[in-house]
């Protein structure tokens, strides 16, 4: 979602309304938006401030709170576990992006072609989107079981590894399963983006003698840069904050091999009952997420000017 792109569309629209409409025709009252604003404010914006406040108290989640000052911050920032979780999250985020982006892009462009069999494939590709993270984690746990899973199907020694029990492998297995879960959604974005590329551009490229591969690199890819930024933003922020599947699939294990920042925050707050320290981790998470999202949408608006000229 390109944030700035939408803002710029909204503002001229209301300017236009203001100049063409006589003054006595008033717009709807703000009360119409109030319920949504209040509702989102209570559960979205208040917790954003609340998480900073809670990082300054000692609280076990049930009993009374007591003031802690910066003690939680000192604890969290000196613990090696924090840096381990941050590092894992960064690695997870980057590898997820590297795996999912090329596949989604190619599948999306492929599905954008209008032929019957591609439409049928499209319907089937999206089936993983329907499953809950808990369901996916349970299915892959069974499938990856070293004794009764895939290894039993092919009798290949290499498949009977303890995929989720090996600390060197577990993170990459989680990345693979997450890719399986989210590639359909990003494929959908790229498919939509590719369908909006004007056919005239391809016609011109064909007349110039460009083949399928050159058309892909010189027409399709440059035209998809906004989809690329939207998809990458959702993918990076999504994997930075992803919790559900990792929790059910590995619970952070083996050891702490997949204990990424969101999971580390949950386990610190809700399992170790250190809500204050958990909140410190949550602040780190919000901060990184917001910087990432705003930075990427800034990138989108920075490059906007040159894009529009071509259209």
């Amino acid at each position: 979602m390109s944030i700035t792109q939408r803002e710029e569309r909204a503002v001229p629209a209301s300017d236009r309304d203001r100049t063409t409409r006589p003054a006595h025709r008033s717009g709807p009252s703000v009360w119409m938006a109030m319920p949504a604003l209040v509702f989102f404010g209570i559960f979205g914006l208040v917790p954003l401030g609340g998480v900073v406040a809670l990082s300054l108290v000692n609280w076990d989640g049930i009993g009374e709170m007591s003031w802690a000052g910066l003690a939680n911050w000192a604890t969290v920032l000196t613990e090696p576990a924090t840096y381990h979780a941050i590092w894992l999250s960064i690695e997870f985020m980057v590898v997820c992006w590297l795996v999912q982006t090329p596949i989604s892009l190619l599948l999306g462009v492929f599905l954008a072609g209008r032929s019957r069999y591609r439409a049928v494939l499209g319907v089937l590709y999206f089936v993983p989107m329907l499953l809950s993270a808990a369901a996916i984690a349970i299915a892959f746990k069974a499938l990856l079981d070293p004794n009764f899973g895939m290894s039993l199907a092919f009798g290949i020694e290499a498949l009977s590894q303890d995929w989720l029990g090996d600390p060197d492998l577990a993170l990459y297995v989680v990345i693979g399963v997450v890719a399986w879960q989210f590639i359909p959604f990003h494929t959908l974005l790229y498919q939509a983006g590719a369908r909006q590329i004007p056919a005239a551009l391809y016609e011109a490229a064909t007349i110039d003698g460009a083949g399928t591969v050159r058309q892909f690199f010189h027409v399709t890819l440059p035209q998809l840069r906004y989809t690329f930024i939207t998809s990458s933003t959702l993918m990076l922020v999504g994997s930075l904050t992803y919790f559900d599947l990792v929790f059910v699939l590995t619970g952070g294990g083996p050891g702490d091999a997949t204990r990424m920042l969101p999971l580390h925050m949950y386990l610190t707050g809700f399992s170790a009952n250190e809500m204050g320290e958990g909140s410190v981790l949550a602040v780190l998470l919000v901060f990184t997420g917001l910087v990432l999202a705003l930075g990427l949408s800034g990138l989108a608006s920075f490059r906007k000017g040159s894009q529009m000229e071509g259209m």
């Binding site: 803002e7 717009g27 989102f40 954003l48 499953l131 809950s132 808990a134 925050m265």
Partner: protein, 276 residues
């Protein structure tokens, strides 16, 4: 002519497309056939070959546990959250698009900013709010925050659709003396039906599959929703994988039905909402 050249069959792409189909569907196929195995069969059969004597015992076992209760809980939570989200977001998007002052631009900005707030990072304060409001371990505790976090994206998507409604339609109703509420109900509501179906299905899917809010905000088995139930089934039937996978299939069936009914709306609507 250019179209036909572009549609020349692309063999490598087709092959890759079918390979991905295998990747996407083999795990789903595995879940379905394994749920039809007996427990002994699970330990001995080839996991990718359908069982020679399919058995529904696992399904019986799951349905005899409290599965139906969890199903009803999930339906209540999903319907409740979707109703709140869609109705509040429709009103808000009307104000964002039809509003004239600075406030409507600011409202729009609040929701755009809201898109960037990660739900995961707010769980501790949300847990605090819910316990303070004495709603911990109720279905309402799941409904309220789930609905709230779906609002920003829903407003943004609905606003995109609402901008496409021609101004003349509003003007002619205004001439007839209609107020904003009447325009919302008798003009916007019918025109936006496809968009509303899209966001309702999309939000519904998110809530139906949501895991984190139920995990931190409920505790007792009678408030359990399906994803959480799957997770606890897994602990309960550790050695009976076919039963766990039967629960997975049963929990996905309602969503599959919805997908088949609303697929056209969902795909075209989402691409219009995201793709601009």
């Amino acid at each position: 002519m250019a179209r036909t050249t572009r549609m020349r069959p692309n063999v490598p792409a087709g092959v890759a497309g079918f390979l991905w189909l295998l990747v996407a569907l083999v795990p789903v196929y595995y879940v379905v056939i394994t749920s039809l195995r007996t427990q002994e069969g699970f330990f001995s059969d080839n996991p990718l070959v359908p069982p020679s004597d399919p058995s529904l015992d696992s399904y019986r076992l799951v349905l005899e546990s409290d599965f139906l209760l969890y199903l009803v809980n999930s339906i209540v939570v999903t319907l409740g959250a979707v109703l709140i989200t869609v109705s509040l977001s429709l009103m808000a998007s009307y104000f964002v698009v039809r509003g004239t002052g600075r406030l409507s631009g600011m409202t729009h900005k609040v929701f755009l900013l809201g898109l960037a707030i990660p739900l995961q990072a707010t769980i501790i304060p949300v847990y605090y709010l819910i316990t303070e409001a004495r709603m911990y371990d109720t279905l309402l505790a799941i409904i309220l925050p789930s609905a709230a976090f779906a609002i920003p994206l829903t407003v943004v998507i609905l606003s995109n659709f609402l901008r496409d409604v021609p101004n003349e339609l509003f003007e002619s109703m205004r001439v007839d003396g209609a107020g904003h509420w009447r325009m919302l109900v008798s003009l916007v509501l019918p025109l936006m039906r496809p968009a509303l179906v899209t966001v309702a299905v999309y939000d519904g899917l998110q809530v139906w599959n949501g895991f984190l809010f139920p995990l931190i905000l409920t505790q007792s088995p009678d408030q359990r929703v399906l994803p959480l139930a799957l997770w606890s089934f897994q602990g309960q039937f550790t050695v009976n994988i076919p039963a766990v996978l039967a629960a997975v299939v049963l929990s996905t069936l309602p969503v599959l039905a919805l997908y088949i009914l609303g697929r056209r709306h969902l795909v075209s609507g989402l691409t219009a909402g995201f793709g601009k």
